[in-house]
């Protein structure tokens, strides 16, 4: 397996009895009844670049949000230089020298760079300006200060955020997926600056899912999985393989073996219900694939690989997409989502709150939103509508006090079922499911898996997008892996192992077996 090209630099201070800059002890965090962090123990030494690795939903962002004051943990303590602290707001974290650079920098697009840096700062303006100039030079921030911040590249916006943190005398910087929108050169630049900061004694938490970057820049790596730390070692003592292994569920091998025993699905026909040819747009290039009736095609990859963008383009929600989309044999030219639905293709969006569900309205309204024209000629037939609602309520085992329960009050799992009901109501022949089990509890998850198997059995073609690799590998007949806008791997389920898929998702190719 590949070894890191550059050894991470040694830390400036190496004494073993140093007090950590910050320690998190036994942190528990619960969201809507679901524990997301289950006893996290983490610390950061002065001058250390500590990487946090983990799949989507593993808890790395949540942990850092607690550290930066956005969330308060249900249990556990935070120790800053030996003293226990509680942060109720980002302001308090700032005052204690902790600063988080979010994945999407918070800037004031119409204000100048200088103002973005200095507004809200409690410092003498002249001293502040001098310090800014100094820091900018150290950090390599090259923009003019009078330029409008909105015009800055994302890379520079991130540097701006870092300078903000340093201005507030941050001793601890948290970088949340800083490289996801950067070019190769910009990443190199960022790393250079991070090393400079590390030499100054500043500790950095570096959240990422890019293995090679993590191996290059960090001193220590902690891997999170399902709310727990499963590996915490100096970077020099790990390699990619070990990391990938750590991120897999414990029973990965067992599951791989189990699957080989199951029967291949025999209801897959030759009929191609969805064919995508050389689809390209801003976020992806040359994507081509097919889905057959009764087949489940899994689309794996990390956040930012472009899967949702592909899905939206296939459905017709991207006016800039080029390429061919053929639904049930009918070539669509400049189609929109209405046409897709009429041809038999529906899309269950990734962000159900933003695009899928009508939170303030009765759940029934969401379920029937796409088929209202079938529920009565001039007047909406309440009877018919409720019949549809009850039908899916039963079929999907949706737990609600009544069809009219306001969607906002349902649990995540049941909300997702409501959105699924909406998709199923139009009796589609092809369904694109985008992260269908995100934020869904265990038992509802099983229901969703069961539903997918059922639908496939009925001859529906399914494109399953998920960041949970077990899901993909368990349910799919064929697996596509996307990385940075391209499909880089395609395998039949029989030949795939979790390890391989995971590795491909991280951009590592070429391992035939372990």
């Amino acid at each position: 397996m590949a070894k890191p090209v550059t050894q991470p630099p040694g830390r400036s201070s190496q004494s073993p009895n140093e007090t950590p800059l910050v320690e998190l002890k036994n942190i528990w965090k619960v969201f809507a009844g679901v524990p997301v962090l289950k006893g996290i123990n983490l610390n950061l030494m002065p001058g250390e670049i500590h990487a946090l690795l983990g799949g989507n939903g593993s808890g790395k962002s949540t942990t850092m949000k607690i550290l930066s004051g956005l969330y308060v943990p249900e249990r556990g303590e935070i120790f800053l230089g030996g003293e226990q602290k509680v942060f109720h707001s980002p302001n308090e974290a700032h005052k204690n020298g902790i600063y988080m650079v979010p994945q999407e920098p918070h800037i004031f697009p119409h204000l100048s760079v200088e103002e973005n840096l200095l507004l809200g700062l409690d410092m003498d303006p002249r001293a502040a300006r001098a310090q800014v100039k100094q820091l900018a030079k150290e950090i390599g921030f090259e923009s003019s200060f009078s330029e409008e911040a909105g015009a800055l590249s994302i890379a520079n916006q991130q540097l701006l955020e870092i300078i903000r943190g340093l201005l507030r005398k941050a001793q601890i910087l948290i970088l949340d997926e800083p490289t996801s929108a950067l070019t190769f050169r910009e990443v190199e630049n960022l790393f250079k600056r991070m090393r400079t900061l590390s030499q100054r004694g500043i500790g950095i938490f570096f959240i990422s899912h890019r293995l090679n970057e993590v191996m290059t820049i960090s001193h220590r790596i902690s891997v999170l999985r399902e709310g727990r730390i499963v590996l915490a070692e100096p970077t020099t003592e790990v390699n990619s393989e070990k990391l990938v292994r750590a991120m897999l569920p414990a029973d990965a091998e067992m599951r791989d073996m189990k699957r080989k025993v199951r029967d291949p699905r025999d209801q897959i026909t030759d009929e191609v219900v969805l064919a995508v040819k050389k689809l390209s747009s801003d976020a992806f290039q040359d994507v081509s694939f097919e889905v057959r009736a009764g087949e489940v095609v899994g689309l794996a990859g990390l956040v930012g690989a472009g899967r949702t963008e592909v899905a939206e383009a296939v459905v017709g929600l991207d006016p800039n997409a080029r390429g061919d989309v053929i639904i049930k044999g009918k070539d669509t030219k400049k189609h929109d989502s209405r046409k897709s639905q009429s041809l038999g293709l529906v899309y269950v969006p990734e962000d159900r709150h933003a695009h899928g569900i009508f939170l303030e309205l009765p759940s029934l309204y969401t379920m029937t939103a796409t088929i209202l024209d079938r529920l009565g000629r001039f007047l909406l037939s309440r009877k018919q509508e409720e019949a549809v609602g009850n039908d899916y309520r039963q079929q999907l085992s949706i737990k609600m006090s009544s069809l009219h329960q306001i969607a906002k009050t349902l649990s995540g799992g049941n909300q997702q079922k409501v959105v699924l009901a909406k998709a199923l109501a139009s009796k589609p022949d092809v369904i694109i499911l985008d992260e269908p089990t995100r934020g869904v509890d265990a038992s509802a998850r099983q229901d969703v898996y069961h539903l997918i198997e059922q639908l496939a059995g009925q001859g529906v073609g399914i494109l399953l997008i998920s960041s949970e690799l077990e899901e993909i590998v368990d349910l799919s007949d064929r697996i596509l892996v996307m990385y940075q806008g391209r499909i880089i791997k395609e395998t039949e389920r029989a030949g795939a192992s979790l390890q391989q898929v995971m590795a491909a998702a991280f951009g590592l190719q070429g391992e035939a077996s372990l």
Binding site: V30, S337, A354, L361, L379
Partner: protein, 349 residues
Amino acid sequence: MKAQAIKWIKTWEFGLAVLLVLEILVLGAINPTFLNLENLLYSTSDFTHILLAALPLTLIIITAGIDISGVSIMGLASITLGLTWVAGVNIFIALFIALGVGILAGMFNGAFVASTDVNPLVITLGSLFMFAGIAMGLPGLLDALGFKAYGAAGFAAYMYEGISGLPHNFNQIAHGGIGWVPYPLLIVLIFAAFLGIILHKTRFGRYLYLIGVNADAARYSNVPVKSTLVTVYALSGLGAALAGVVLTSYFTSARSDLGKEALLTIITVVVLGGADIYGGKGTIVGTLLAGFFIGFLRQGLLAMGVTSDVVPVVVGGLLVVVVALKLFITTYNQRRLNQQALRISEERR
């Protein structure tokens, strides 16, 4: 059955109904003529134009939009009615032309809102000015375009005085009635029934709620957002035009500046009726009740000797109090729910 009844009692509309009854009783205690049903019904002609504009505005506010150009459309419809009649057209055909103009004006608003991301407030602000201006300039414009009018002075003669001397059967619209029920009230009730059915019983009405709660999700759910918006603003234009026609009949004079003062009252009626300015909430019954409440309130204040100037003070103050109250209630409920959820998650562990 009992649970249903209790739920109904908790609604905003029920509260409004109770308030309305109380108001009539209080006003009646001060001035017994209020309790005379015939008088009461007759007095509604004073404010039916507010309701005619406020009812369809409710639909727009449900979509999280707004339309402040209605008051200008009122004048535009009125002057169109008058001028067309003066040009020799039968008064009732002129009436329909006026309604048509209102619909077209509304469609203009709707098209602008649907096809750009510009704030509907700004759009209807611009059209407020534009329609008012067109209404004023229409007489001169028609003259210039060579249309013929009764009287040697051409259309321009009517510019400042308006057009009076309208046919008696037209004036009956505002002054006649069936038994004790005046025609304007009848028109309002029919219009309200029509809009009520549209809002609560058709898929178009459902689309309005969906768009108001989450326009993006509506688009993803294949709701025909654009055409729905154009239609709902057209309905608002129709309502405003109807109001203009009724006012014209009431004052027996067609003028281009009818209804200018009504904007504040119209919006207060919609908000008091329970519609949420951020979209997704509102009912026809609520707006109707609120309309009567404020209408009778104005009457009552006037009857008590309060000058018509104080009325806007009360109305304005009422608006603020109602909204602030609603917000307090929602935040209080939210906090309670959150605390409940926290307790549950802690117990789970």
